[in-house]
Symmetry: C2
Subunit: 216 residues, 2 copies
């Protein structure tokens, strides 16, 4: 692995901002979008269980339908690719079994050799304390993917706007998620900033570093 | 902004894994750690409110004390820098006022010009539906920072292990967080993989991309 420089990382983080106005004419090239999808797929998650699905919406009509349930934020329709993060609403024995099967398949090992791992997940998520908070546990994993996606996008020079201001129940209805075992939890518009977006040049506001970071 | 290549991004994501064994002798250089701290500070958050604090723990004695409340995971003591993410347990009018003051200061504008923005935050977080879920809302923002941190670390060639398996109440007690308005929500060990960590070379397990990503 050939690391990037600290300057490159910081420059990307400084360049990034929650894009208010996207240039509707600019689309993310296929190879760039493929790398961002790969970032989503390779995102880390609790036990590796990936309790989410990502909907990448380019269909104009669908986006128009989502707009009124997104506080009218035009990023939904003007961006190049609109990502809706969905998280599992429940986790079953079968979901864990599928994951064990997948590990065995990818690593070419016997599923029986993973009994300890399966029991650990079972004890935590099915029989243990997290069984009561599965939707929130899954949503948190989706937020890791969101953080990963925004940083990845910035590094590739792609603009993004995270969107929590939307009506999840309406999204679930529009995107026929009801009964699927997944529910929408957060969104991210991806594309390129319009020349006229004044927010692009405003100084970034953060509390002083010594209020946010404490060394012990 | 000078973007990195899609190959560099994907290579970093492939290289990254949840490190099980850190080399206790290797420490993250100061300039690298400064860039990772900057990534935390520059992480995006809801309304820009940054409802979190990051504790970066290098003190050996503190880490030893946290170990038994972390399922005995040795990453806590063997890593170079151990990050505990804390999230706000409540959000007050004063917190919003401090943020407005900070925006006005950084952008050199009159606080009064931000009344609309303040009212929007107030309506959502103090008077509105999110007022009932502040700890979870804040935790989700911390998870964005966690995703950002893990991707940033990978790109700099720094290993990481996210840790959700810990006892938050015990951490809060040990780290004297009770009464501070912040509570621990997730952790991340940072450092360098030990030569003997067999997980480093195991094939990464993900469900097939077409099960995780849906194009609409």
């Amino acid at each position: 692995m050939n690391p990037i420089s600290t300057e490159q990382l910081t420059a990307a983080q400084e360049w990034r901002y929650a894009t208010k106005i996207f240039d509707p004419a600019r689309k993310i090239p296929a190879a760039t979008m493929a790398a961002l999808e790969e970032a989503l797929v390779l995102s880390p998650s609790s036990f590796g269980l990936q309790p989410y699905q990502f909907l990448i919406i380019t269909d104009r009509a669908v986006r128009e339908k989502l707009l009124p349930f997104t506080w009218g934020q035009k990023q939904v329709t003007d961006c190049s690719h609109y990502v809706v993060f969905t998280a599992r609403t429940q986790l079953s024995e079968e979901n864990i079994a599928s994951f064990i099967k997948r590990i065995a398949e990818v690593r070419d090992i016997a599923p029986d050799s993973l009994t300890g791992y399966r029991d650990m997940m079972h004890g935590n998520l099915i029989a243990g304390p997290r069984s009561n908070v599965i939707p929130e546990w899954a949503t948190r994993q989706a937020y890791i993917a969101l953080g990963n996606l925004m940083t990845s996008a910035a590094l590739l020079g792609v603009d993004a706007c995270p969107i929590e201001g939307f009506e999840p129940e309406k999204y679930d209805e529009m995107l026929t998620l009801n009964g699927s075992g997944f529910a929408s939890c957060v969104c991210c518009a991806l594309g390129y900033r319009a020349a006229g977006d004044k927010y692009a040049t405003l100084p970034k506001v953060r509390f002083p570093a010594d209020e946010l970071v404490h060394r012990i």
